[in-house]
C-alpha cells in the first residue's frame, strides 16, 4: 500500500470562505455560533447556530450546500496545483447528509406550489454531480452518507483508492448546509444547547449546529514529492467501525469508537504514545463527550494527550465536520498549534485529558487524530502525521 499525502486544503466555515480565514478563527478561539437567521426559529428551545456569514458565493441557481462544496473543493484543488489531466482522472468522494434539502424544504413548506427545480438537487449525491461537472473530475465518484461521520468516511474511502493504486489523486471532503429538518430534529431530540455549546465542560447541555464544507486533495506521497507539491501532512492511517448498538446512542463503553482509533493506529503502525493531539468529535452532548473520553482513555491511557473540540467554535457542521476537522487537524500539525476548546470553564472530572481550554497552545506534534462519530454507530478516526 502506498503512503497518502495531503497536498490540498479547502474550507468554507462559519468564519467565512477560505482556509486562512478558518485557521485564523480557530487559532484565535473565536466563536461563530450566533442567532440563526437562515430559517424561522420561533417556538424552538435553542435558536443558535454557526452559519457561514455573508452571501455564499456562486450562482443562485445552485443550492446553498452546492455552493459551499464548490468553493471549498475549488480551493483544495488550487492549493494542490493539479493539472487538468490530474483532475480528470481524480476520484471524487463526498460526504453529505442534507443535500439540497434547504431549498427543497421551501418547496415543500409552500405545499408544493411553485417550481419543482429544487427537487433535482435534493439528494446528497447532487453535490458530487455538480463538482464533477464544474471541476472536470471524471474518476471514481461516490457520495457517502454515514450521518455525522460522512465527511471523515469520505476521506477514509478516498485514501483507500489512493493507497491501493486505483487512482493517483483524490478530492475528498464533506459538506452540509443548515436545514430546517436538521435544526428541528436535534431540537426534538433535545440535543441542542440554547447557549453556544461547551464541549467537555461539566455543565455542558448539548450541541450547536453549524454548516460549511471541508475538502482535501490526497495523492501518493512519492508522487507528491516527485512533482514538487507542497505536502501539508500525511494521512497515515484510518479506522472505520460500527457500533451495531443503537440508532442514536453510542455504545456506552465507547467500544466502537475505541476500535476505530486503534485501527487507525494499527493501520499506520504507530504506538498510542506517538499521538500528541486528538481533534475530538466533541459534540458537547453529555453522553457523547463522556463516552468519547472513555474511549480515548481506553486507547491512550490518562493524562498526557491534548484533546480539543473545534465544534466549540464552529458548531457541529454535520457531514462537513469530518472534512473541516481534518483540515484543522492538518493545520495543527503544520503550525505546531493545538486549537482550543472554547467555553470550557469547568472541566468535566470524567474527562481525563487536557482539553486545551479557551486558548490555543503551541505544541509540537508528530501525529494527530481526528475523530468523527455518527448516528447509527458509524465511527471514523483519521490519523495524520506531520510532513
Amino acid at each position: 500500500m502506498r503512503r497518502v499525502a495531503v497536498t490540498g486544503l479547502g474550507a468554507v466555515s462559519p468564519f467565512g470562505a477560505g482556509v486562512k480565514v478558518y485557521w485564523d478563527g480557530v487559532r484565535a478561539g473565536l466563536c461563530a455560533i450566533r442567532p440563526l437567521t437562515l430559517i424561522d426559529t420561533a417556538g424552538f428551545r435553542a435558536r443558535l447556530a454557526a452559519e457561514v456569514p455573508g452571501g455564499v458565493a456562486g450562482s443562485g441557481r445552485r443550492g446553498r450546500a452546492d455552493r459551499l462544496a464548490f468553493a471549498a473543493a475549488r480551493e483544495a484543488l488550487q492549493d494542490a496545483g493539479l493539472t487538468p489531466a490530474d483532475r480528470a482522472a481524480a476520484a471524487l468522494v463526498v460526504g453529505a447528509v442534507g443535500g439540497g434539502m434547504l431549498e427543497a424544504e421551501t418547496w415543500y413548506w409552500d405545499r408544493r406550489r411553485g417550481s419543482v427545480a429544487p427537487l433535482r438537487a435534493i439528494l446528497p449525491c447532487a453535490h458530487a454531480e455538480t463538482l464533477g461537472a464544474r471541476l472536470g473530475i471524471e474518476g471514481p465518484r461516490e457520495t457517502v452518507v454515514t450521518a455525522c461521520s460522512s465527511g471523515a468516511a469520505a476521506l477514509a474511502l478516498a485514501a483507500d483508492l489512493v493507497a491501493d493504486g486505483t487512482v493517483e489523486v483524490a478530492l475528498a471532503g464533506g459538506v452540509d448546509a443548515i436545514t430546517r429538518i436538521c435544526f428541528m430534529g436535534f431540537n426534538a431530540l433535545r440535543l441542542l444547547d440554547p447557549a453556544p455549546c461547551r464541549p467537555f465542560d461539566r455543565d455542558r447541555r448539548g450541541m450547536s449546529i453549524g454548516e460549511g464544507a471541508g475538502f482535501v486533495v490526497l495523492e501518493p506521497a512519492e508522487r507528491a514529492r516527485a512533482r514538487g507539491a507542497s505536502v501539508h501532512a500525511e494521512l497515515a492511517g484510518y479506522g472505520t467501525t460500527t457500533d451495531a448498538f443503537h440508532v442514536t446512542a453510542p455504545h456506552p463503553d465507547g467500544e466502537g469508537m475505541a476500535r476505530a482509533m486503534a485501527r487507525a493506529l494499527e493501520c499506520a503502525r504507530v504506538a498510542p504514545g506517538a499521538v500528541g493531539y486528538v481533534n475530538a468529535h466533541g459534540t458537547a452532548t453529555p453522553q457523547n463527550d463522556r463516552i468519547e473520553a472513555r474511549a480515548l482513555q481506553a486507547v491512550f491511557g490518562e493524562g498526557r494527550l491534548l484533546v480539543s473540540s473545534t465544534k466549540s467554535m464552529i458548531g457541529h457542521t454535520m457531514a462537513a465536520a469530518g472534512g473541516l476537522e481534518a483540515v484543522a487537524t492538518v493545520l495543527a500539525l503544520v503550525h505546531g498549534v493545538v486549537p482550543p476548546t472554547i467555553h470550557l470553564e469547568t472541566p468535566d472530572p470524567e474527562v481525563a485529558f487536557d482539553c486545551v481550554p479557551n486558548v490555543a497552545r503551541e505544541h509540537g506534534i508528530e501525529y494527530a487524530l481526528s475523530n468523527s462519530f455518527g448516528f447509527g454507530g458509524h465511527n471514523v478516526s483519521l490519523l495524520f502525521r506531520r510532513a
Partner: protein
C-alpha cells in the same frame, strides 16, 4: 488483490423474493411487473405477512420504517442463503437513491400540522439516508465498515462494486452489499413533475454476500459467482443530464482488474429502464467498449429501476455466467460477462462477473 466470491443472495421485490432458487426461477422466465399506466412496480404497503414473519418480527415491523424492513429482510435472506450467521466480522454497504424519503416527509408534515409539538424525535434519525444501514447492522450485529452510498439510479451496482473492492483489497473479509429503494406517492409525483418520462421505476431490496474466495472455500460455502473486476467512474455530463462521451474508463478499468479483454465479455446486464435518452447513451457506451452485437439485457425493464435491482443484476450475472442463459434473451456464451449501469449526470459502474461453482451452487 484477492478474488471475491458471491456466496449468498437475498432479494425482496415485485416479481422475485427469496434467495438463489427464487432468482434462478425468475431468470428462467422473467415477467414484467411494471404497470402499463403507472410505469412502476410496487410491493404491498404492509410487508410483514406469513412469508416474511421469520425475517422481520413483529417488534421490528412496529419499530422500523417500511424501507428499513425491506433492507433487513433482504439482508437476512442473503445471510441465510450464504449459510453465514450474523456476526461482528461483517461489513454492510447499502446503495440507495432516495433513502427514507417517506420518513422525511412525515417528519416535516408533523411540524407543518402541529408546530414544534408535532415534531417526532423518533422519526428524525430516519431522515438521514444511513438509517437502513444502521438498523441492519444493529439487527445482524455487523461491526465492521458500514456505509451508505447515494447515487442517481446506479447506487446498487456502486455499493456492490465498492464492497467488492474492499474485500479484494483485504480490508473486509465478508460483506453484505446491495441496494434498496421504496416508492411512495410523493416520490412518484415528484419524479413525474421532473419529467421522468417513460422510465420504469420499482422498489425493493437486494443484498449479495461477498467474501474472499479462499475464505469462502475454506468454510465450504457454495460460490454463486466471482466478481473479477470492478470500477466506477464518471462520464462528462451536466447534473441530471445525458452526455455524449461514449468512451468508458469504468469498463476499461474493470476489465483490466479482471485481467480480461473486451472480447472475453459474452453478455451484459445493463441498466436500460425506458429513459430513452439515457438508454441510448448507455447503448453507445457499451457498443464503443465491447463492439456491437454483444447480447444484453436489463432487469429494470421488467422490475423497474431501483437500487435493489441494481444489486440483483450482479447476482443474475453470476447465474448467467454459469448457465449460459441471459434473462429474456436466451442462450449466450457461458463465462465472464459485464454488469453495467450508467446514470444521468455521468456516474457509471462496471463489474466483471464470472462463474462460480455452478454445479453445486445454483439449484
Amino acid at each position: 488483490m484477492r478474488p471475491v466470491a458471491i456466496t449468498g443472495l437475498g432479494t425482496l421485490g415485485p416479481g422475485v423474493t427469496g434467495g438463489r432458487a427464487a432468482l434462478a426461477r425468475y431468470l428462467a422466465a422473467p415477467a414484467s411487473m411494471i404497470g402499463a399506466e403507472s410505469r412502476t412496480a410496487r410491493l404491498p404497503e404492509r410487508l410483514v405477512g406469513p412469508s416474511l414473519a421469520d425475517l422481520v418480527d413483529e417488534t421490528e415491523a412496529r419499530r422500523l420504517s417500511r424501507v428499513c424492513q425491506l433492507t433487513l429482510a433482504a439482508a437476512r435472506l442473503a445471510l441465510a442463503d450464504a449459510r453465514l450467521g450474523p456476526g461482528a466480522d461483517l461489513g454492510v454497504v447499502v446503495g440507495t437513491e432516495f433513502g427514507d424519503l417517506h420518513a422525511t416527509a412525515a417528519f416535516a408534515d408533523g411540524y407543518l400540522a402541529g408546530g414544534v409539538p408535532g415534531l417526532s424525535a423518533l422519526l428524525f434519525p430516519s431522515t438521514v439516508m444511513n438509517t437502513m444501514a444502521a438498523t441492519t447492522t444493529i439487527a445482524v450485529g455487523a461491526r465492521e465498515l458500514s456505509l451508505t452510498v447515494n447515487a442517481p439510479t446506479v447506487a446498487g451496482e456502486l455499493a456492490v462494486a465498492r464492497a467488492a473492492h474492499e474485500v479484494a483489497a483485504g480490508r473486509l473479509d465478508a460483506v453484505l452489499a446491495g441496494g434498496v429503494d421504496q416508492l411512495d406517492d410523493l416520490l412518484i409525483e415528484s419524479l413525474a413533475a421532473l419529467g421522468a418520462g417513460h422510465e420504469a421505476r420499482g422498489e425493493g431490496a437486494t443484498f449479495v454476500v461477498l467474501e474472499a474466495r479462499e475464505a469462502a472455500r475454506a468454510r465450504g460455502a457454495a460460490i454463486l459467482g466471482e466478481v473479477q473486476g470492478v470500477a466506477w467512474r464518471a462520464l462528462p455530463a451536466r447534473p441530471h443530464g445525458v452526455g455524449r462521451h461514449a468512451r468508458s474508463r469504468a469498463i476499461a478499468a474493470a476489465l483490466e482488474a479482471a485481467a480480461a479483454a473486451a472480447p472475453a465479455v459474452g453478455w451484459v446486464y445493463g441498466s436500460a429502464s425506458g429513459d430513452v435518452a439515457r438508454d441510448a447513451w448507455e447503448a453507445n457506451v457499451l457498443d464503443t467498449a465491447l463492439g456491437p452485437g454483444v447480447p444484453r439485457t436489463s432487469l429494470a425493464a421488467w422490475l423497474g429501476r431501483h437500487s435493489g435491482v441494481g444489486a440483483l443484476g450482479v447476482a443474475a450475472a453470476a447465474w448467467t455466467a454459469g448457465h449460459g442463459r441471459l434473462a429474456g434473451v436466451g442462450a449466450v456464451r457461458p463465462g465472464p460477462g459485464l454488469v453495467h449501469a450508467l446514470a444521468r449526470g455521468g456516474s457509471h459502474v462496471a463489474l466483471v462477473v464470472a462463474p462460480g461453482d455452478e454445479e453445486e451452487a445454483w439449484p
